[in-house]
Symmetry: C2
Subunit: 499 residues, 2 copies
């Protein structure tokens, strides 16, 4: 087994225990790790680092990942005080709490920005790249596991590389990755992808074995999450969305097999993709970040031909089946670095249909994806901006109410802006679809109130709109600066947005 | 002259008076016109259309342009009630007033979205393309004048084409354009530009002469504006910016001759570019939308090697000199369609340094470029989002106060969001520079208050920040929903943001 997994002779004497590898980490270092949505992140070395933290050591590490990672890394390092700073995305409860309590510094970044910032030197030096792999090749090349994320970039730019070979991740994954790293400007060339399934790189991360200072073996599995069961609201949103897409095909604004689909993280996004299984669409292509359960289901149903992503985020109950049948999927899936999966060049060229989830949307079509009531960080913007901004069609889904109808997800003004009116084409709630393309702000407001708002909040929203249309001197995006955020304020004070 | 300008035999009997050409326009039509910042827009036919309006005809036209156009088109059509709907950008006083009074519908769009929306059919059918040219070739090919904008796309997609040959625009412009139109997805290929000066297309807009229903001759010159004299504040901003760029070169985060520069519209943007003339930088490249006076000055000074844009927006006093010496500039300038000048693929690949002007900026780095006090449309987002979002470095400049210090351009929360915290790297005011890269929101707030805020507003801003840090339960982007927009409210009520 060791022979199959560690094929590079010179590295054999650099195999060590996690505790030993953890000694490479010094105070104030900047660490780049693998991992994208709890998949393919390092586990054993972070757990060993956490032990140092428990003993009271202060390391103040800066942790840069692909996207969210699991409890062994995010949870443990934050609880033991080892992590001081975090980029670019997280979904971990302990990290989220630390951010919202102001205990750690978090910059919520577009996921396509992170790799180029590393390469441009905007983060300073990357001291250690800590990446999970299924194997290391003879030449030192690293074969990633269930995600690529920024691993290739960290390996390229770091002084030292530590590899965790995870034997719970099947060797069958070898061959599923496609690693390509564009040069920095002014020497960048076109990225030669014109179809989602195209391969342009190597199936391993090139690495000079000299840089690899430690190899650690582990068998701790990815801690992915179960996807929420698909409820009535999700079904309604999926069905509205599919009706909308059908009409676009009839109007000849989309090809019969649509265009490559991107679908965000979370239960709503998964449900919407799942809805396509029942649809008449065929030969679908997926060009996304995460390959979730629903993408596999679409492949199984013969509906999707190919899925390109940067991580497999498969639920625990589905994972065994996925691995056992990996041969069936192998030529239908592909993992790329997030510098490529989220690249504006490719997204614009392929003409992606981007489907992401909003926390709240306002009358004029602005979207909040990250901060509840303006200040409480949920996860982050993730790749939603990369896709939304450069898509062929950019769609946001959200249930029209939250917290037992005490919150309307359609508000006069969003309390935090992640995607502006300029970037949002279509809003889908369980109530219906608002197609905002070509509409002035006032027209958008009417469409959103009419088609997307929950009955409980239709009257109050109309009241706000009529009030500002009457009383605001300027009628482009009329607002009352007094009342625009008053719904959120009321919720914070009384526990409901209702009067 | 007519022979040189109109070289296509079959079109000679379609030369007509503007009034006759104006008869092609029917109620409710969608018209695509040339013009990008008051340059290269049609003049004679719009003036004739305005006459129909003055007679009381209601045409309710939808007007889509490249960007802003001159009084003969925007001003006249809105004043005579001919225009009902307007995309994607404007700077005309009469249009702005009509928008703010709610008399016409305006959708403020990213300039790179407009051409593809036309090609995707999102605007419906384009009934007439009305474009200014310096000449028409034997084969019907149209040679644009001082801008390309969306002219090529309108000509490609419209049922009927009307060409205004403007004899005030020199024939010497022939050869300066580079026309290329990417196919729609799923058939789009990489756009093969890797350097700002590269030519990839034809120097004319291909057009089947059968589509050209009218040719009108005119000699009305472009109504460009004088640039404001460079004042003390502009000089300070330019010098801060240059210091910042120098440091980036020292840190090896930028090459010695920088990377291609984009610079927005307006007097501040022009002043900042002009500041580079005094700097030590050499061999600069410009890849922008507008080629303003300062770009020519940089070429004259031997500082800039090349300027690629989609329009020449040269001030009236500079224009004659530019035309008279056009031979000197001809191989140093190039005009592309805005689908190419503003394309995310090229902007990301070339690694553009984007420098745009903000109306206001908030503590966390969000930028308002378009709506004063949240509701009053100024111009629009224009191309600032196209560049900002995909740039190597995205910089915003703004004077720290406006209206005789009654307004602070640094506020607790911007009253309208065009560019979110995720897209803004650096803020420059006459006070100094805030480098926001890698900073958490709280760190950004401190840097912006410290380095960019006017002394009159430093205390009040610090007070807001300390207040929300203390009283807001959530400390990621702490805000007071009560006070966040209170500065704007105070200004609207009392005429000043000061207490
Ligand atoms: C927006 C996002 C949080 C939604 O997640 P989801 O699991 O699909 O949606 P849910 O409906 O379960 O909502 C998640 C939580 O937000 C709450 N919520 C939803 N809308 C809300 C609103 N308007 N106000 C307050 N809370 C709201 C829900 O009640 C739920 O709370 P809980 O965790 O306490 O139960 C998630 O999609 C996200 O983080 N998106 C941003 C990043 C992104 O889009 N990435 C895509 C590519 S990486
Ligand atoms: C933002 C923008 C309006 C600034 O224009 P400018 O000519 O450089 O800047 P000025 O300082 O002269 O300001 C223009 C006006 O806004 C006012 N203003 C500036 N800051 C303000 C603020 N914070 N609040 C209210 N008004 C403000 C000025 O007082 C001035 O008003 P006036 O016309 O009544 O005199 C302009 O750059 C723009 O429209 N940008 C958006 C589009 C864009 O960036 N395009 C780039 C590529 S196309």
């Amino acid at each position: 087994m060791l022979k199959e997994r560690l094929r590079c002779e010179v590295l054999k004497n650099r195999v060590m225990e996690p505790e030993q590898a953890a000694q490479f980490f010094k105070k104030g270092m900047t660490i780049g790790t693998s991992g994208f949505t709890p998949a393919g992140y390092p586990k054993a070395v972070p757990l060993a680092l956490a032990k140092r933290g428990k003993k009271g050591e202060k390391l103040d590490l800066t942790i840069i990942t692909g996207a969210s990672v699991g409890e062994e890394l995010d949870g443990e390092l934050v609880k033991t005080g080892i992590m001081k700073r975090r980029y670019p995305y997280q979904t971990n409860k302990a990290v989220r709490d630390a951010i919202n309590q102001g205990k750690i510094e978090y910059e919520d970044m577009h996921l396509s920005h992170t790799p180029q910032w590393v390469k441009y030197g905007f983060f300073g030096k990357i001291d250690i790249a800590l990446v999970e792999a299924v194997a290391i090749r003879e030449d030192g090349g690293i074969i990633p596991s269930t995600s690529v994320g920024n691993s290739n970039v960290f390996v390229e730019m770091a002084d030292k590389v530590i590899v965790e070979i995870n034997t719970s991740q099947p060797l069958a994954l070898e061959g599923v990755h496609d690693i390509y790293s564009p040069k920095n400007p002014p020497n960048r060339e076109p990225i030669p992808i014109t179809k989602p399934h195209q391969r342009i790189g190597t199936n391993y991360i090139p690495c000079n074995p000299k840089k690899i200072v430690a190899v650690v073996f582990t068998d701790i599995p990815d801690k992915t999450r179960e996807v929420a069961p698909i409820d009535e609201n999700a079904k309604k949103m999926a069905s509205h969305l599919i009706e909308f897409l059908k009409k676009e095909v009839e109007l000849k604004r989309l090809p019969k097999n649509l265009l490559p689909l991107q679908s965000g993280v979370g239960s709503v996004a998964n449900a919407v993709l799942a809805g396509l299984i029942e649809s008449k669409f065929e030969d679908l292509m997926i060009y996304s970040e995460v390959i979730q359960d629903a993408a596999l289901d679409l492949i199984d149903a013969g509906k999707a031909k190919f899925a390109s992503g940067t991580s497999f985020t498969i639920s625990p109950s589905r994972l065994k089946n996925f691995y056992d049948n990996f041969d069936k999927y192998k030529d239908k899936v592909l993992l790329r670095p997030q510098e490529i999966s989220n690249n504006p060049e490719i997204i614009r060229r392929l003409g992606i249909i981007a489907m992401n989830t909003a926390i709240e949307v306002d009358l004029y079509g602005n979207v909040n994806s990250s901060n509840i009531m303006g200040s409480r960080m949920m996860n982050g913007i993730g790749g939603s901006g990369d896709f939304t901004r450069n898509a062929y069609l950019s769609i946001f889904t959200t249930v029209s109410v939250a917290k037992n109808r005490k919150i309307s997800s359609i508000v006069p003004m969003v309390s935090h802006h992640d995607h502006t009116e300029h970037d949002v084409d279509v809003i889908v709630t369980e109530q219906g679809v608002a197609d905002l393309r070509g509409l002035s702000p006032k027209e958008r407001a009417k469409t959103i109130i009419e088609n997307c708002t929950h009955p409980d909040y239709k009257e109050p929203l109309l009241e706000y709109y009529h009030d500002v249309m009457k009383n605001c001197i300027y009628k482009h995006t009329p607002h009352s600066l007094e009342k625009a955020l008053s719904w959120h304020k009321r919720f914070l004070e009384t526990g409901t947005m209702k009067k």
